[in-house]
């Protein structure tokens, strides 16, 4: 290794390490705070807890975290399913069609990616309200799906461009129709794209706050971010319980990410083509 590339490597490592610290420090503070008492949290905010107490977790669980957790799982699962299903099909047709108009359809879908949520919040609320969906899980699952489709379509599109056509041709000769080729051959071999698309959207939808706050006013349909936020007023900010709730909310995603990290990185590395 030359001196220059070594210097560059050290520099890159330094930047990435700093960034990692920057991201992980709040997570670390959240986890240690969840084990502290309210007093200790304020007197020694950055120190390790004197003794690990699960009292805060019990309090958090007691005020309905389990219900929020179920809601979050349902909403995330439903929206991610719709996103993957619609995006993969759309991207497949877009990637395979030779009609020039499809190019524009693709651009139009990707342009949806650029619409900020804040700008459509009011009409979106009216739409959901008009459909009678307020205070239901669909009220956020459907908008989440709509918001996830552009990015995921892009992800699948680049993946399908690289997909070996010979496999599809072999399947057509073997008697598969268009849809059968997709569901029996292409989709089962799209693991990396499905995994990264699903994780990406799951993270986003799991953490989404604004829409959920707007659409879900009843406590029994709330998702974790909104539910936990509710803890601040109700219990005049029981910070250790709040941190415990957040820790519970964060854990599932970290586990999923660690399990599927390989796919995630591989397919994102192919983006931007």
């Amino acid at each position: 290794m030359t001196l220059r590339s070594r210097t560059v490597a050290i520099g890159l490592h330094a930047v990435v390490s700093l960034w990692t610290l920057f991201v992980l420090l709040p997570v670390f503070v959240m986890v240690i705070s969840a084990f502290k008492s309210q007093a200790e949290l304020f007197t020694r905010p950055l120190a390790l807890p004197k003794q690990f107490s699960f009292a805060a977790f019990e309090r958090a669980w007691g005020i309905g975290i389990s219900g929020f957790l179920v809601n979050s799982i349902l909403v995330t699962a439903l929206s991610v399913f719709i996103i993957i299903f619609a995006s993969s099909l759309a991207a497949y047709i877009l990637a395979r069609s030779e009609r020039p108009v499809m190019r524009w359809v693709y651009v139009a879908i990707v342009a949806g990616f650029a619409v900020p949520l804040q700008s459509v919040m009011v009409p979106l609320y009216q739409l959901v309200s008009g459909a009678g969906l307020l205070n239901s899980r669909l009220a956020i699952a459907l908008p989440y799906a709509a918001y996830g489709i552009p990015f995921t379509t892009m992800l699948f599109y680049t993946f399908f461009l690289e997909f070996p056509r010979e496999l599809e041709e072999a399947a057509r000769l073997d008697g598969c129709g268009r849809l059968e080729v997709f569901f029996r051959i292409v989709l089962p071999l799209s693991g990396p794209a499905i995994a990264s698309g699903a994780i990406f959207q799951a993270v986003f939808n799991w953490n989404e706050f604004i829409l959920a706050l707007l659409m879900l006013t009843k406590s029994d349909v709330r998702t974790l971010p909104v539910g936990i936020y509710g803890l601040t007023g109700q219990y005049s900010a029981d910070w250790p319980a709040l941190m415990a709730g957040l820790a519970i909310a964060t854990l599932p995603l970290i586990v999923i990410f660690l399990l599927a990290q390989r796919h995630f990185v591989r397919s994102l590395a192919g983006l931007g083509k």
Partner: protein, 379 residues
Amino acid sequence: MPHLEVRDVVKRYGTLTVLSGVSFAAEKGEFVVMVGPSGCGKSTLLRSIAGLEEISSGSVSIAGHDITAAEPSDRGVAMVFQNYALYPHMTVAQNMGFALKVARRPKAEIEAAVTRAAEILRITDHLGKYPKALSGGQKQRVAIGRAITRAPEVFLFDEPLSNLDAALRSQMRIELSRLHRELGATMLYVTHDQTEAMTMADRIIVMNGGNIEQIGSPLDLYNKPATRFVAGFIGSPRMNFIASRVMRLSGRSVGFSLGEGRPPLDLEFAPGETLPILGDAVTLGIRPEALGDDGEVHIADAEVTVVEALGRETLVYSDARTLRTTDSESLDGYFAQLVPSQSDKRLGQQIELKANRSAFVVFAADGATLHDASPIHHK
């Protein structure tokens, strides 16, 4: 009635014409090889017959049925791809039985068909494995097995051996010939490798620039090439081509120039052959194995530039500066000579290139063959 018939097939991509009116027919059980340089349209033709490409005009029929507009799976064809195209998420047995499964055939029938194909190809031990656990040769066998289980009217092969190494390729050539005999099936095989064409084909179709140059048995093409292109494409090493001119004409005897200061080469044209006109630019062709140290005609003096000792035979390349070639694939004055034994020729040695009169082929300026050579028979 021919088993496979292709009539006036034209394929255009926008303004680019890839196939300009191609017609041929294959009898039932025939092994037909389409050969030509890359971009000659042979793969496009094969894919058009498979239904993977829509043709711009013309028709294709198999076993008497017009299948020009039929879906790929309804044509009675099975195809073996260059990159095998095995489904990576299915085992070997599932790959081979997939077409029957899609057609919703009973399980027992699928199993029987897969077992039979596996036995023919000797891959019974691998049925439970996934493609990634197989070697290249095994994958190609599975791909062929997938075609066999469908019991098609016509097998289509798209350069199936080009991803294999040389030793495996010659072994698979023999196996494919055996398979063709055993199944008695009609096979259409695309390759750019003239050796594959020569060794396996009942008949060869030589394609160039979207047209068929010539159709015939391997030895027909070798002995009586219809055009300079076919003469150059069939046979390895390539035929030597010499730029020449008609110097004299008397009766059916034609004299061709062989460079300055050398007497013209007189060749006797047979009654059926078209005579050139005095002064015409022509090409003389001579096979590398017809060149030697002795012969009736002294073509040129040359200097040895490369010697490739292959053991059984020796390839000697030499440079005769007095002569030019009309072949875009060769250099002016370079001659390939195939000596059917080991040779003591050394680099830089001065040699005389000689050949018998009967070894010369004559091509017109447009590439058509005017005069054929006689085949060489070694005792």
